[in-house]
């Protein structure tokens, strides 16, 4: 019997409403396999901080165009000495709902395993992990406001005087070859780079917070969907990262870790190689500023559901992406803290890289010596 969909009610919708009312911010009851509104995520963040003293703290580091606080969670154990850090942001594009779901999953997994997983425990003594579950809060709230706004991508900033469309593509607004390739100057475009570089308060917030910690932050991870890709710098096709070979090796190892979980294939490469050229991305900005490891994750799927990944895929998508992120963080940690692993051995082989990448290999070698020197000091 075919029922008109107009009269059909998603049984999970009612369930969802009840759940949200009842859960009253008990972390144990929080359902990580559903999408959550901004209010629910904010409540969850407060609860994570409350239930994990000495491990998780929160910091407001900026506000959105509409004046909402941009908050991150800082996860780390006190080691009594100067620590390094990892950056992760989710939800820079409003419609990519799986991204905020992943940031929550990522934190949940760390909280669940840090006491029993010795390696993770060691890493939390050496590293602080800064996680922003939703960066483009205005856009995310808008995408939740009704079904016809679900595919909103940009910020919600007011149109420039000559134009009638709202919002800027935050991931074209950073100070990284701003306005050059893969952007639009038309404010109605989904890839509008903004009237000027860093016109968006959300991009300024990240720039200031991360910019003040460039020596501290080893790795910059920015989470998107969809396409099943791991993107390495740069988005501009004429510029190659000095450690391109190493970034590719680390990215390919992450893709393998992802594949090992549920068999999903992720493609690794620069954006101009595997997706399209683009400038003004936060990933490129982070690398240009001197953060050696910078990656964009494009999570599931490859286009069948696109931005509307069904909720039953949240768990597998997050499980595999968690393995991918951990693979990168492990590598970065071990290299910075002189823990020898097979991956570091592989990295040293970049000295045999083909001619055009020789300077990259040299740079990698220099980086290794720099890090060694720093650690010795």
């Amino acid at each position: 019997m075919i029922t008109p969909a107009t009269s059909y009610k998603d049984p999970s919708a009612q369930h969802r409403a009840m759940e949200n009312g009842q859960q009253a911010l008990e972390l144990n009851n929080y359902n990580y396999t559903r999408y959550h509104s901004m209010d629910e995520i904010s409540g969850w963040m407060e609860q994570v901080v409350k239930e994990n003293p000495g491990l998780v703290s929160s910091e407001v580091y900026g506000e959105t165009f509409e004046g909402k606080n941009i908050t991150l969670l800082k996860i780390g154990l006190d080691s009594g000495s100067k620590k390094k850090a990892i950056w992760m942001d989710c939800g820079i594009h409003a419609r990519e709902w799986i991204a905020p779901a992943f940031c929550q999953w990522f934190i949940k997994e760390i909280l669940r395993t840090h006491k029993t997983d010795e390696k993770l425990n060691l890493m939390l003594h050496n590293l602080d992990i800064y996680v922003t579950p939703v960066l483009n809060i205005d856009g995310y709230v808008y995408s939740w406001s009704n079904e016809s706004n679900r595919l909103w991508r940009k910020t919600r900033s007011c149109p420039a005087p000559h134009c009638e469309c709202y919002g800027t593509d935050l991931n074209r607004n950073f100070y990284a070859n701003w306005g050059m390739v893969g952007i639009s100057r038309n404010c109605c475009s989904e890839i509008y780079c903004g009237p000027n570089v860093l016109s968006e308060k959300e991009a300024v917030a990240v720039t200031e917070f991360v910019g003040q910690r460039v020596g501290e932050i080893l790795c910059f991870l920015t989470i998107h969907s969809y396409g099943q890709l791991i993107l390495v710098p740069y988005g501009h096709p004429e510029i190659t990262a000095p450690n391109y070979d190493e970034l590719m090796q680390v990215g390919l190892a992450a893709a393998q870790a992802i594949k090992d979980v549920h068999g999903m294939n992720y493609i690794v490469g620069t954006s101009p190689d595997v997706l399209y050229p683009n400038s003004g991305s936060s990933r490129d900005w982070a690398r240009l500023m001197g953060i050696p490891y910078s990656f964009t994750f494009e999570l599931r799927d490859k286009g069948q559901h696109g931005f509307k990944l069904p909720e039953e895929q949240i768990q597998p998508a997050c499980e595999e992406a968690y393995a991918g992120a951990c693979s990168i963080i492990n590598y970065v940690h071990d290299k910075a803290f002189n823990i020898s692993t097979t991956m570091t051995t592989t990295t040293m082989e970049t000295t045999t890289a083909p001619a055009p990448r020789n300077n990259a290999a040299l740079w990698t070698t220099l980086l290794v010596s720099c890090l060694t020197a720093t650690t010795l000091l």
């Binding site: 019997m1 075919i2 029922t3 008109p4 969909a5 107009t6 059909y8 998603d10 999970s12 919708a13 969802r16 559903r34 999408y35 995408s143 939740w144 079904e147 016809s148 679900r150 595919l151 991508r153 009638e164 469309c165 593509d169 639009s184 038309n186 109605c188 475009s189 989904e190 890839i191 396409g227 294939n265 493609i267 690794v268 490469g269 190689d273 595997v274 997706l275 399209y276 490859k302 286009g303 069948q304 559901h305 696109g306 931005f307 509307k308 990944l309 069904p310 909720e311 895929q313």
Partner: protein
């Protein structure tokens, strides 16, 4: 012109393969067969003097309906030289596949057709899937049919600078029909990856198990009143959409 080997993971190979996927749907799609590119295995590119860019792609295909891998295809995709014109020229595609039609969907199609013919009311639905990715089980065939019908448009609209997927069915309405051919009016939202635009089309779609899926008309919808990007077009898709060989 030399034939260039392409990295199958890089975007030129993938874009060509997705065009081939759309072509396969126009040929073989139904409410129970919606073909999607699974993985590009190999690809080459050849610049054909005066004709355009010719891609040869080998790829595996899955059926979105069963989520099963259904075979390997090999396609030639020719993006015609624009000759300096801004007009979109549809690519020419020829494909051959192994095992593709081994999955027999005749029974399901017949059953759905019978049911729809016998229904006292016409089917309609909005927002498929909903914001949470949920699709009511009985609406899935209409989502698959939308994917297949959208492939007719996405095939015609594709060039080397595009990558199209269907993002959502905004609305589907079954229309009265006098014979065995069922008629549907669709409003679909397409996602173009390179521009990141969501593009609205209204389609008039016919389907019956014997004749397959046809898109009788396709009308591009402006994004909003104030922001008409220069893409505006209305196309009439002829019932026979088999490509002209290059």
């Amino acid at each position: 012109m030399p034939v260039e080997e392409l990295n199958p993971g890089h975007y030129p190979a993938r874009r060509a393969a997705v065009v081939a996927q759309h072509h396969l749907n126009t040929q073989h799609g139904s409410p129970y067969r919606w073909l999607l590119l699974e993985r590009v295995l190999s690809a080459t590119l050849e610049a054909m003097a005066g004709m355009g860019m010719k891609y040869n792609v080998e790829f595996s295909v899955k059926d979105a309906v069963t989520d099963q891998s259904v075979g390997l295809c090999s396609s030639e995709v020719l993006f015609p030289a624009s000759g300096g014109s801004e007009e979109q020229t549809p690519p020419h595609v020829q494909s051959s596949c192994e095992n593709l039609l081994n999955s027999n969907t005749t029974e399901e199609e017949k059953a759905l057709h019978l049911q729809l013919r016998g229904n006292s009311s016409l089917v309609s639905g909005d927002y498929i899937p909903d914001s949470f990715g949920f699709i009511a089980p009985e609406m899935k065939p209409f989502w698959h049919l939308a994917g297949v019908a959208s492939s007719f448009v996405m095939l015609k609209e594709s060039n080397e600078s595009t990558l199209y997927n269907m993002a959502q069915v905004a609305n589907v309405t079954q229309l009265e029909s006098q014979n065995d051919t069922l008629m549907f009016r669709y409003h679909v939202l397409l996602h173009e990856m390179v521009s990141q635009e969501i593009i609205h089309w209204k389609l008039l779609v016919s389907w019956c198990p014997a004749e397959g899926v046809k898109v009788l008309s396709a009308e591009w919808q402006p994004k909003c009143q104030h922001c008409v990007v220069p893409l505006a077009k209305t196309t009439q898709t002829p019932p026979d959409t088999s490509p002209t060989p290059p």
